[in-house]
Assembly symmetry: C2
């Protein structure tokens, strides 16, 4: 290895083995198909943007984490999410788009975070957003949970909960308590309730807020029961604040339409403790949890935002969206043994020769492909044992073997790699057998 | 617009409108499915790599064009093709892979070229490669044209030619003429034959090479006729050079097996003038042309290379691969009116309300989605004219309209946006009608 460069992938960059990649791609395609089922249009914005455009709103952590560099005279940056490029897109192409503009984007984003287990510097986000021109019906906020529901159902999950809240309820409450200036800090503390518990939240709040008000906040976030119970309890608080009442009215609409859009009651709930850290949310917020694996954190989050495009235009363009952080989710699901790539295969069948007469091998491969099957060939000059090991590593369910007898008698030997059974039959028979398992 | 940042995509970066993106994605998925049909495994390597790793082999133009930058202590670069990352991958994960290793990768690559019409700085490459461990059967070189054939057939093209040559034939010829040191320069000149013509090639060669040898070269590249004629003519040259005879024997095998793999004779031909500029090809080379649009240049190219991993390992790992430059191809096809995105739509049907009672609208959307249809909703408080304009812009074939009468009578009004016909029927009827067109 003298004078050689060590081939090494950078730390913090996900690079999968082929069987893992097959599973990852399946999940990505399932998400895409679900998004398309709801009529969302695909976008694919560049990964490199003008740094000025990308950092119009950003600051703090984002600025530090961003990949920013110069090329010639250009000050460039890699996108750190798909939301800012969307804000750019809708203002740049405003005249060519129709509103409400519904788009999905699935793509890689970049953040130079400290590499940690399961935290990547390059990772996939899968976003859907609806952007209105001037205004945007609250019913859109109810259609998104239906997308979340269908997406995770299609991904094979059955035990998850979509949690919904509305920032206006929280903000209105704070106004009514004259705590509006402390609201960001209070939300930050409330947001930690799943990690630190209610008592600790109370203790933290008491550090800066008088007892009576903390009691109201704790009473508020303790509201429990069915969605209807919660709405009732919120109404019974009789809070005389416009923002609060607006939030309450919105969440009632959302809960009503979620059901009509087909999400069963057991898959969603109002959760008044959810605030979402990001300060750009202004109304509805979402988080989604796998009930048996709450420790994974929210697997799909989002919300309503009113001011996303304000750095580019004076136009009012409210939006609502959700995002799945697929790279991190994939890592977590594999790491927790919730999913496994061990049996993944791209091919339905591997065709391999036992002689150095490869004509029939190539012909059989062609015929199987004409039948719509995914077919790999191994036409190398390798020992049979090595070829079977190859088939094993591919996880392929069927192998067709072409030896001297098969060529002479115009038949094929079909081996079922799961059962180990082997039959020698006409090709048509073999095709039937393989297709049974598709 | 005071204090606003102008939202602007960088020059040289493709960013499509939604209908164009739908068409682009369809092409990308067609290519992916074709690659999978031949049993190629998916890879998705990072876009950012260690600059040392990526530039192990590079030099000249590549070094100048590459996006290279520092982040913390890391010297980073964006991949400029998918071949170098593959070389990295097979050496880095050698112990976990089975050979011949067949992988496809479809992803964005980056080259800071001068922006020109149809030349992008960020563009998609769609690659398939087969990497052997120590050796690799020549029959693989025949399976790749079958992939090209099937891919372009599936993309809807019918009049194209896959041109095949073998660098060993050319190199052997040069050896026999004692022109081996001039071979790179001669190949560069021959490669221009489509652009400048045979006479001009002859003139350029005569500048540095004696007439007798140029005559042989011109006689060689003038070899014409069917593939069999050409093979015969090459044999008749009786060139006593091992490399030449090896190349001849290889191309005979390739031509034989291309047919067995199912490529009709009229879709491929031996073209002795094709050399491919890139100096890493060592055997078979491919170019593909749309016969009616030869001016577009080769739309799928590739070849056999023996030394790709030599910068990372002493192991011998020969490979053969092809690549489609999808972004450029897409631009060219749209620009030449060969394809059009004007009618592309993601949704089968748009559901919209004519009243402010949205319950039935949401319910109908859910039921249509349960039927497997892609459904968009427009539940905004917009005028009817605006909603129909919205439907027009979506290119959606069907619109379902829910007004007061529809709600009262539990029916839907289905408008065929192509014919303009409108019927008011039970939902089940509407579903049947929409599915007819799928």
């Amino acid at each position: 290895m003298k004078g050689k460069i060590q081939p090494k992938t950078l730390p913090g960059f996900m690079e999968l083995l082929p069987n893992e990649q097959i599973l990852f791609n399946k999940m990505k395609e399932t998400i895409q198909k679900s998004y398309e089922k709801y009529g969302f249009l695909p976008l694919n914005t560049p990964i490199i943007e003008d740094a000025k455009v990308l950092l119009a709103k950003a600051g703090g952590e984002t600025e530090k984490q961003i990949y920013r560099f110069e090329k010639g005279e250009n000050d460039l940056a890699l996108r750190f999410d798909l939301t800012v490029p969307l804000a750019k897109y809708v203002t740049e192409y405003y005249d060519k788009l129709s509103f409400p503009f519904k788009r999905y984007q699935i793509g890689k984003v970049y953040r130079g975070e400290k590499p940690q287990r399961g935290r990547y510097r390059e990772f996939y986000q899968c976003d859907v957003d609806i952007i209105g021109d001037g205004k945007l019906s609250i019913i859109n906020d109810a259609e998104l949970p239906a997308i979340i529901y269908n997406t995770f159902k299609n991904l094979g999950f059955d035990d998850f909960t979509i949690c919904i809240n509305n920032r206006k309820i929280l903000n209105g409450l704070f106004y009514s308590l004259k705590l509006e200036n402390e609201s960001a800090e209070i939300l930050r503390i409330i947001d930690k309730i799943d990690k630190i518990g209610k008592d600790e939240v109370e203790n933290e709040l008491l550090k800066t807020i008088e007892k009576e008000k903390v009691d109201t906040i704790i009473k508020f976030i303790s509201i429990d029961g069915t969605n209807n119970d919660k709405v009732k309890a919120l109404e019974d608080l009789n809070i005389d604040n416009e923002t609060f009442q607006e939030g309450l009215s919105e969440i009632k609409q959302v809960v009503k339409f979620i059901k009509i859009f087909g999400v069963p009651e057991e898959y969603f709930k109002i959760d008044l403790t959810i605030a979402r850290g990001l300060d750009y949310y202004t109304g509805t917020v979402y988080e989604t949890f796998l009930n048996k694996y709450k420790n994974l954190g929210s697997i799909c989050s989002g919300g309503r935002y009113d001011n996303l495009v304000e750095y580019y235009t004076d136009r009012k363009m409210p939006g609502v969206g959700i995002s799945i952080g697929l790279s991190r989710l994939f890592f977590q699901l594999v790491d927790s043994n919730i999913i496994s790539a061990d049996k993944e295969s791209i091919s339905d069948v591997l065709v391999m020769s036992m002689t150095d007469d490869y004509d029939m091998c190539a012909e059989i491969a062609r015929k199987l492909r004409d039948e719509g099957l995914n077919v790999q060939t191994n036409i190398e000059d390798q020992k049979l044992g090595k070829k079977f090991k190859y088939a094993d590593n591919l996880n392929v369910k069927y192998v067709i073997i072409i030896g001297e007898d098969e060529i002479k008698n115009n038949v094929v030997t079909l081996k079922n790699m799961t059962s180990g059974n082997q039959i020698t039959v006409k090709l048509e028979e073999a095709v039937k057998e393989i297709k049974k398992d598709k």
